[in-house]
Symmetry: C3
Subunit: 162 residues, 3 copies
């Protein structure tokens, strides 16, 4: 019996819903809602697969705590100048790897399609979420979210969170 099957069925579906809601928040560009998916002391990290696999410390984005998450939102919405684009996340089936010390370890493959104005949609970023989820009074929240993307070549910049 794996850790997955020992978890409550409803919890497994709630985890799926968390991922669906998270992706919808980003794809609808509701940036102010984004930090609300994380705990107060959360760690959000966006890192190329090569660096992640080798344990190298450099990351494209590395945020700890609500203050840094909100600062990133402010940066994205108010100070960064960039050509606007839409994001579209398609997330594959979620692996629930187990629960220990109140944290549910999950992984999921993701694909982000980017659409610029007057341009066809294109593959923008593909990779894997490596997450730790905790139960809170307000529902499930990410205590840690590491986005490991496969390509070290990024077309233009990654502006919005993945």
């Amino acid at each position: 019996m794996t850790a997955t099957t020992s978890l409550d069925v409803a919890l497994r579906l709630d985890v799926l819903a968390l991922y669906a809601d998270y992706a919808a928040c980003l794809d609808e560009a509701r940036m102010d809602d984004w930090p609300g998916f994380f705990t107060e002391d959360a760690h959000y990290r966006l890192v190329p697969r090569e660096n992640h696999d080798r344990g190298l410390p450099l990351a494209t984005v590395d945020l700890v705590g609500q203050g840094m998450l909100k600062d990133r939102v402010y940066g994205v919405t108010s100070t960064l100048f960039h050509a606007p684009y839409y994001q579209r996340h398609v997330i594959g089936p979620v692996r629930i790897l187990g629960e220990a010390e109140g944290q549910i370890r999950c992984e999921a493959s993701y694909l982000v399609i980017r659409t610029k104005r007057d341009q066809p949609s294109e593959v923008f970023n593909a990779g894997r979420y490596i997450d730790r989820i905790v139960r809170t009074d307000a529902g499930l929240r990410f205590r840690e979210k590491i986005c490991v993307f496969d390509s070290e070549l990024i077309s233009n910049s990654i502006i919005y969170p993945i």
Copy 2:
């Protein structure tokens, strides 16, 4: 507690199955089966995100009722001349947003990959389903399906339903 978690677990899985079956119908080009996923009075709409977000009335495809759905099938299979292509839907996790007045509100991100003969597969259409699902004696059916696609630039034409 969100609306999602209050819904019955089996129902949530049945909603997932509906999306899977719907996509398979289109990807296998079983066009005659497509109207069967909708209620008698259903509304099917395919609209660019820009128009949808601004509340503009123009849509790429706008069909109301089984008659128009079947007419679209007839058009696609019998009267439109076009280079044949395969569709492949990949649908992300479904958001079940709530149930009211017998309608289950759902949303899901979708990606359609197109493959033309002797061509590599390519990103064709990406967007979001905004749906209302009802229970019928024959199972779950779409009462309303709005396909909001991110790109206003469509390579060639959208022939088959999304």
Copy 3:
């Protein structure tokens, strides 16, 4: 009532987990673990859609039994010379079509994104899994997995399993 709804809820979620685990194994290039997803007498087949639909016998890859699966792993990891690339599977919702004679028939659309070193991620292979799953003491395993891909045009070679 469809076959889907008559299956146990936990089983349906376990099937989803099997697909998630399978994809993760390949995407993390844990090739030695790949045969473990199959039964001793399993059939693995990778075939273009055109050949599959016409019932033609030719397949890109056709393996029967653990011996051939392990031989393929050996070939991929030890004898084939090729430019390295990452795979990233995104699998859509799984259709559980029924259970008969101890085999659960499932289908799912898949998309594989390929990332070569210093290259942007790109659509590599899209298609449908047509599978037969059985219960074993070690959990769910594939008794048969047929990967039907939409494009007959493959950029370079398909080295790793899909």
